[in-house]
């Protein structure tokens, strides 16, 4: 059990800086997720916590100890790799026992621990097999077993589910979540999949190009994205972004085609400024006879069963807009849908810095 402190952590390769100062305090027993597009530095950050990459600047501590100069083995961590990294020449049992043997734990104690862990992960039947004889999902379990059996104070996961098929991924995701809750061990999980991030993490860090875009709970990130990047990254299909201008009184966003929408607050200090307005597809709903606020000219309709995705153009302009409607709707191409949105669900961003604008 341990807390993790990241204190102004930088990473550079030569003159090339890939992480530009990361600060984070991960609480004991917390499950946090580092999420971002590929190349954002998320795996590098995880590997720095693990001790597989050096720390160029700043400080990382696990528990009470600063671990900057400690070997991976001395950090009391366990890691699950994307390709599982199981030792191909050892049986499942020996894969799990390897770390314990090195620690010099007695043979019968090792046996007890491996068997107990295998029980939890339901891999008892495979203990004698070699990794080659296992399926992807089974290998995944063994990799987790190898981490759990060592009873470390921190778990690190490096995109552990990305080599599995979609169905298995959903299943394993749930199992990882349950397991973490049961064991209560501080965990850091890296993924590029925002659904994984949202469902697993108590808190999330969104990284982009080596900068921290936002830290927060999944709900916070969804409801109040700090930047346009986070807003677009979290949620599927992703948020609609439209160019607009703030009206003179700061209460409305005016779009190029002449449409206007009420804003959640008073943005008078940004009056007449260009802004980017963000609206999630699921927050736009068909206006049932109330005062019409805006509309969409329908181009393509996609039926997902539970939802209907309507692609079209926004208002009288020609910007693209996606609307997600509940249930199955019969909507024809070329139809004009009257739409309404709660002003609280409208997000306004600075078009240059991407930062959220609030009243």
């Amino acid at each position: 059990m341990a807390e993790i402190h990241l204190n102004k952590v930088h990473k550079s390769y030569g003159a090339d800086e890939v992480l530009h100062g990361v600060d984070w305090h991960i609480r004991d027993g917390e499950f946090v997720v580092i999420v971002g597009p590929s190349g954002c530095g998320k795996s590098t950050l995880l590997r720095m916590i693990a001790g597989l990459e050096g720390i160029s600047q700043g400080e990382i501590s696990i528990g009470e100890r600063v671990v900057n100069d400690l070997e991976p083995a001395e950090r009391d961590i366990a890691m699950v790799f994307q390709n599982y990294a199981l030792y191909p020449h050892m049986s499942v049992y020996n894969n799990m026992a390897y770390g314990l043997k090195i620690k010099g734990i007695a043979k019968d104690e090792i046996e007890k621990r491996v068997n107990r862990t295998a029980e939890i992960l339901e891999i008892r039947d495979y203990l004698k097999r070699s990794p080659r004889q296992l399926s992807g999902g089974q290998r995944q379990r063994v990799a987790m077993g190898r981490a759990i059996v060592r009873e470390p104070s921190v778990f690190l996961f490096d995109e552990p589910l990305s080599n599995l098929d979609a169905k298995l991924r959903v299943q394993m995701r749930l199992e990882i979540k349950k397991l973490q809750e049961r064991l209560g061990i501080t965990s850091v999980y890296v993924t590029h999949d925002q659904v994984e991030a949202m469902t697993l993490g108590h808190r999330l860090m969104v990284l982009n190009g080596g900068y921290v875009e936002q830290l927060g709970t999944p709900i916070e990130l969804y409801e109040r994205p700090a930047t346009a990047f986070v807003a677009g990254f979290i949620g599927s299909p992703s948020m609609n972004f439209l160019d607009a201008k703030i009206s003179e009184d700061g209460k409305k966003a005016v779009f190029p085609g002449g449409d206007a929408l009420d804003l959640p607050g008073d943005l008078a200090k940004h009056a007449n400024h260009r802004v980017t307005v963000g609206m999630r597809p699921e927050h736009l709903q068909v206006d049932e006879g109330k005062s019409e606020t805006t509309s969409q000219t329908v181009q393509v309709v996609e039926h997902l069963g539970a939802d209907t995705l309507v692609h079209g153009t926004f208002g009288s302009g020609n910007s693209d807009l996606i609307v997600r409607l509940k249930g199955i709707r019969t909507i024809g191409k070329g139809e004009v849908l009257p739409l309404a949105i709660d002003p609280r669900n409208i997000h306004v961003f600075d078009p240059d810095s991407g930062k959220r604008l609030d009243s």
Partner: protein, 293 residues
């Protein structure tokens, strides 16, 4: 219906493979068959009289303590060469695998000995260990050890082993390095997180995973030591002193061309032929089995 490319009868394919076939026939098949035939004959030194004696030459060989001695010596020599050059190459490869800066430079330097012809390699070592001129002899003398491989059979054997192993280190190094670099990095990292230090990682992860390469190299090295060390032995000791370094290939030459016992020499080369065939079979049969990562 089978879809296949068909070629009409033509002389072209035959012409294309002809050079290779001619070389094989002239330099391998013909001499080999001659040796097979010769091994069943007894000829007098002047070539005046030849007698067909069936397997008498072989029977005589296996009753000959000199031959059996040479056989033992060859086995000792081969395994020493294989062990020494492989251990040394493995150490170098393990170190080169960890080097990041200037890795190609190291590799290039380490490959050079392979380009040296066996005789030249032998000559190099002869000069370094020459009892009167050699730099190593001088150094050993300063340390109180009197080196003279022209008198001491053990020292002579040691010298041919070193000279042969040195030549083979580069080849082994290349294969070991390639094998090590094909091990996924994450396996090594996983072992590091599991608490294994560099030495332990080497013995418990790297070594088992490169075992197919190790086995392959062992066969190759034994074959090298058995058959391709003639030049080195000839240059360094010429089989001496008192036949202390006379290995099988050298004995074939000595008995056949110096001693003019053509039949006996041919029988020896037939035995060598059988050994190399069986080693090749072993290699193809077992080395093709690869470890999956």
């Amino acid at each position: 219906m089978l879809k296949r490319v068909h070629f009409g009868p033509s002389w072209l394919p035959f012409a294309l493979v002809a050079p290779q076939i001619i070389i094989t026939v002239v330099f391998f098949i013909w001499p080999a068959s001659q040796a097979l035939y010769q091994s069943l004959l007894v000829e007098d030194p002047f070539g005046l009289k030849t007698e067909f004696v069936w397997f008498d030459n072989f029977i005589e060989l296996f009753g000959d303590e000199h031959y059996l001695g040479a056989f033992q010596r060859t086995i000792f020599f081969s395994f020493s060469v294989a062990f020494l050059s492989m251990t040394f190459a493995l150490t170098l490869a393990a170190m080169a695998d960890r080097v990041i800066k200037g890795a190609t430079t190291y590799r290039t330097f380490l490959i050079w000995p392979y380009a040296v012809a066996p005789v030249v390699s032998g000559a190099l070592w002869v000069f370094m260990f020459d009892p009167t001129l050699g730099i190593f002899t001088y150094t050993l003398g300063a340390l109180g050890y009197e080196w003279n491989h022209k008198l001491n059979g053990g020292e002579a054997m040691f010298l041919v082993i070193i000279a042969s192993a040195w030549k083979q280190v580069a080849y082994n190094f290349l294969f070991f390095l390639a094998a090590m670099q094909s091990i996924p990095k994450s396996l090594i990292e996983a072992a590091a997180i599991d608490g294994a230090g560099p030495t332990r990682r080497f013995f418990s992860i790297i070594l088992p995973l490169i075992s197919p390469t190790t086995f392959f190299l062992m066969v190759i090295n034994v074959v090298f030591a058995f058959f391709e060390t003639f030049g080195i032995v000839h240059a360094v000791t010429a089989g001496g002193p008192a036949k202390a370094t006379e290995i099988l290939v050298y004995k074939v030459f000595n008995d056949g061309f110096i001693g003019l016992d053509l039949g006996g020499s041919a029988a020896q080369s037939v035995i060598l032929m059988l050994i190399v065939i069986s080693l090749t079979v072993i290699q193809f049969r077992y080395v093709e089995k690869r470890v999956e990562y």
